[in-house]
C-alpha cells in the first residue's frame, strides 16, 4: 500500500467517524422539559366518572360518534385504552384498603401524558412528533410513514392507529388541543368542561407545587407521590391518587429514565463500528492475503472507497 493511499484511507475513516458522531449524538443529553411548559394536574380523588371530558374531547377533535353514548356507564365494565376513535378514556378501578376491605371505585382519565422526553418522538424515523414549547407533544400526519414504532415505544400505550383507512392511515393521540386551544394559551377542552375540578391546568412547575401542597395539607387523602413528576423523565400531565398507583392501573415499574436512555447503549456503538470496522477488516485482508496468490480477481488493494458509509 502506498503512503498516499494510506493517508486517503485515514481520511475516509475519519470522515466516517465524524459523520457517525454528529448524526447520532442527538439522541444523547437529557432534557427536563421547557421552562414555560404547561401541564395538567389530575386529582383522582375528585373524579366521579361522568365522562364529560370524553365527550368534550370527541367534539373538540371532531372524532367519530362512539359506539355507546357518553352517558352509558356500562363502558366501565372493561378496561379501555385510548384509540384512534377516543383520544381520552375514563376507566373505573375497584380498589382495596390496606386491611383488605373494598376501597370503593376510583376513576382515572387516560390520555397522552406529554412526556418531557417522549419515547414516540425519539423512536420516530421521520421526526413526525414535536414537543412544543407549550409542553404538548404534537404529531404531523403529513410525513408519517406508518411504521408504528411510536406505538411500540410509548410506555403508556397511548397512540392509536386508524388501521381501517386504506389510503391515509394516521396515528391518533391526544395533542393537548394544541392547534385549537393550547397555542392560544387556553386550557384543553377536557379541563374546561370538568365539573368536579379534577383537572387543573397551569405551568408544570406550578402544578408540581400545588400537588405537593395538597399532599402536605391532607396527607391522609393522598398517596405521597406525584405520578409523572419523574416517571420516564417527567410528563406534562401529573396524577395525584388516594389509592396506591398500581391499584388504579398505573404501571409503576416504568422507572424514571426516559425511554431513549435504554437505546443509548446501542447508539453509542454506532460511531465506533463506523470508525473501526473499515480499518480493522481491510487490515485483516492485507494480513491474510499477504504473499498469497490472490490473482484471479485482479482487484487491487487500494480500491476501498466504498468503505465510508
Amino acid at each position: 500500500m502506498k503512503r498516499r493511499d494510506f493517508l486517503k484511507g485515514c481520511m475516509i475513516c475519519g470522515t466516517a467517524a465524524t459523520l457517525g458522531v454528529s448524526k447520532k449524538s442527538w439522541g444523547a443529553g437529557s432534557f427536563e422539559g421547557y421552562p414555560e411548559g404547561m401541564g395538567v394536574l389530575v386529582d383522582l380523588t375528585k373524579c366521579v366518572g361522568c365522562r364529560s371530558c370524553e365527550a368534550a374531547c370527541n367534539k373538540e377533535q371532531k372524532l367519530p360518534e362512539p359506539d355507546r353514548p357518553f352517558t352509558d356507564p356500562s363502558v366501565f365494565e372493561e378496561k379501555r385504552r385510548p384509540t384512534e376513535r377516543a383520544l381520552t378514556v375514563v376507566n373505573r378501578y375497584d380498589t382495596k384498603n390496606e386491611n383488605g376491605s373494598a376501597g370503593g371505585p376510583v376513576y382515572r382519565k387516560i390520555q397522552c401524558n406529554h412526556c418531557n422526553e417522549p419515547a414516540c418522538l425519539t423512536s420516530c424515523f421521520v421526526n413526525a412528533y414535536t414537543k412544543t414549547k407549550e409542553g404538548a407533544v404534537v404529531y404531523n400526519p403529513k410525513i408519517c410513514v406508518g411504521c408504528r414504532n411510536c406505538m411500540i415505544a410509548c410506555p403508556f400505550n397511548v397512540p392509536g392507529y386508524s388501521y381501517s383507512s386504506a389510503f391515509n392511515p394516521v396515528v391518533k393521540k391526544c395533542i393537548f388541543c394544541y392547534d385549537t386551544r393550547l397555542k392560544f394559551g387556553k386550557p384543553p377542552a377536557c379541563v374546561e368542561i370538568c365539573p368536579q375540578e379534577v383537572l387543573t391546568f397551569g405551568h408544570r412547575k406550578d402544578l408540581l407545587k400545588i400537588a405537593n401542597e395538597r399532599i402536605k395539607e391532607t396527607p391522609d387523602r393522598y398517596v405521597d407521590h406525584v405520578f409523572g413528576e419523574k416517571e420516564v423523565g417527567g410528563t406534562s400531565w401529573l396524577y395525584l391518587s388516594g389509592k396506591p398507583f398500581e391499584q388504579v392501573g398505573f404501571d409503576t415499574t416504568i422507572g424514571n429514565d426516559p425511554i431513549i436512555s435504554n437505546v443509548k447503549e446501542f447508539l453509542g456503538t454506532v460511531p465506533m463500528v463506523l470508525a473501526i470496522w473499515p480499518a480493522l477488516f481491510t487490515g485483516f485482508h492485507l494480513l491474510s492475503t499477504r504473499n498469497k496468490d490472490h490473482g484471479d480477481h485482479g482487484h487491487d488493494h487500494e480500491k476501498k472507497e466504498e468503505g465510508k458509509q
Binding site: R81, S164, E265
Partner: protein, 462 residues
Amino acid sequence: MNRYAREGVETVNALYKKDGKTRWSIMDKLLLGLTPQQYMAQLIRNPFNWILAVIFAVGLPIIAGRFLFGLSWVTHSSCDYPWGLFLGFGLFGMVPLSSSGFQLGTTVEVFGRHDFEPIERLALLNGLLGYFFAVCFLMVDLGQPWRLPYPMVVAFGPAAVLFLVAWHVATYLSVQIAEVSCSFFEWIGFPMGKRGVRRITLGLTVAGIILSTLHQGALGALFTYAPGKVHPLWYSASFQWLHFFVSSIPGGLCMVIVVSTIARKTMAWRCDDNFCNNLDKLTVALAKGASMGLATYLTIKLISVAHDNKWEYLATGWGAWYIVEMLIGVILPLIIFAYSIRRDKVGLVRFGAVLVVVGTVLNRMNTAMFTFNWKLAEREIPHWREIVICITIYSIYITVYRFILNRLPILYQWNTADEAVPEFSRSGMNLAADKPSPAPAGTYCSSVGEPASGTAGSPVTE
C-alpha cells in the same frame, strides 16, 4: 428440468452454444435453452408449481385487498399490538437469515479463503433476496408504504434506531445488488460491468460488514424502546443488539446450508461439479462457523440473564418457553454439530442447520410477537388473511429465488468466465488461462452418476 438434463438437452451455461459459434439469445437464456414448448411442459410437470399457483390464486387478491381496504381488513393489529406477522416473521425473521451475504463475502474476499468460492454466490444471493423480501414484507405492513423514501429525503429523525435501519438496509441492498450483479453481467454477456464490480469488491465487502453489524444489531435495538413490553428474558438494554447480531451469524450460515441442500436436491441439473463436489465439505465448514456463533450466542444470552439477575423468570411459564427456544435453536444444534462435524455426518449437519434456522426465526417472533406485551392479559392471534399474505409473499420469494438460481451462474460456473475478447478466439476456455481460477471453469467432465454432469457436457474446447 432434471429429466431434460438427463435426456441431454443442451442448457445455457455459456455465452455461446456448444458448437462455439451461435450466441444464446436472451429468449434462450430465459427459457433455459429449451424450446417454449419444452419449457411449458416442464413447468406443468412440476407439482410444486401447482402448489404455488394455488397459493398465488388465493394470496394475490388478498394482497391487493390489503391495499384497497386497509390494514384492518387483513390483520388483527391493534393499538396494543402494532406489529404482527408481517414484521415479526417477515422483517425480523428474514433479515437474520440473510446475513450469509456479508459473512461469505468476508470469508472469501477479505480473509482470502477462496476454497469457499463455490458457495459464495449462493450466499450473496441469499442475502440479497432475504433483504429484498424483508422490505417487501415491510411495504405490506407500513401504513403508507408510498412514503417509504421519506426518511431519506423528506424528514429526518436521526436519533431513531429505525432511521439507522432504513438507511443501512437501503445502502446494504444496493451493495448486495452490486455484489450479485457479477453473475448477472456474466449471464448477460457484459464483461466490462463485471470487471468494474470486481474492482470495488473489497470495498463493497467491507461496507457490507459495517452495514450488517449495525443494522442486524439495530433491529434488536428497536426493542430497547419497549423495556416494559418485551419480556425481560428476551430483553436486555445492554445486550439486545449483540443478541440480534450474534444470532444472525449462525442464522445466515445455516440458511445457506438449508438452501444449498434444497437446491442440490431439486435443481441437480443446474449444479455443476465444482458445486456438488465441494458442497459436503463446505457444509461442514459452514457448520463449524455456525457452531462458533452459536456458542458465543449462548454465552451472551446467559450473561445477559445473569447481568440483570433474571434467573427467577426461568421458573415461570415464560421461562419454560425461553428454554424451549434455546433448546431448539441453540443447544440441540450445538450438540448435533459437535457430534456430526467430528464424524463427518453431513446429513445430520443439515438437520442441525434446519433447527438453527427455525430457532432464529422463533427467537425473533418471540421477541416481536409472542412475548410482547407480556403484562397484558390478551394475546393477539393473527388474522387468517395475514397468514395467507405471509405465505404468499414467501412463495413469491421462493419463486424468484428459483428463477434466478435456474438462470444466473450461481450454482454453476459460467463456461467462458472471463471472455475479455470473445470475438477473437472462439476456441473457448483457453482464454481464461491468463487468469487462472482456483477451480477452473473448464473442469466440466462427465464423471459421477449425477444428472448434472450430463448438462454441462464436455468443454467447448473439445
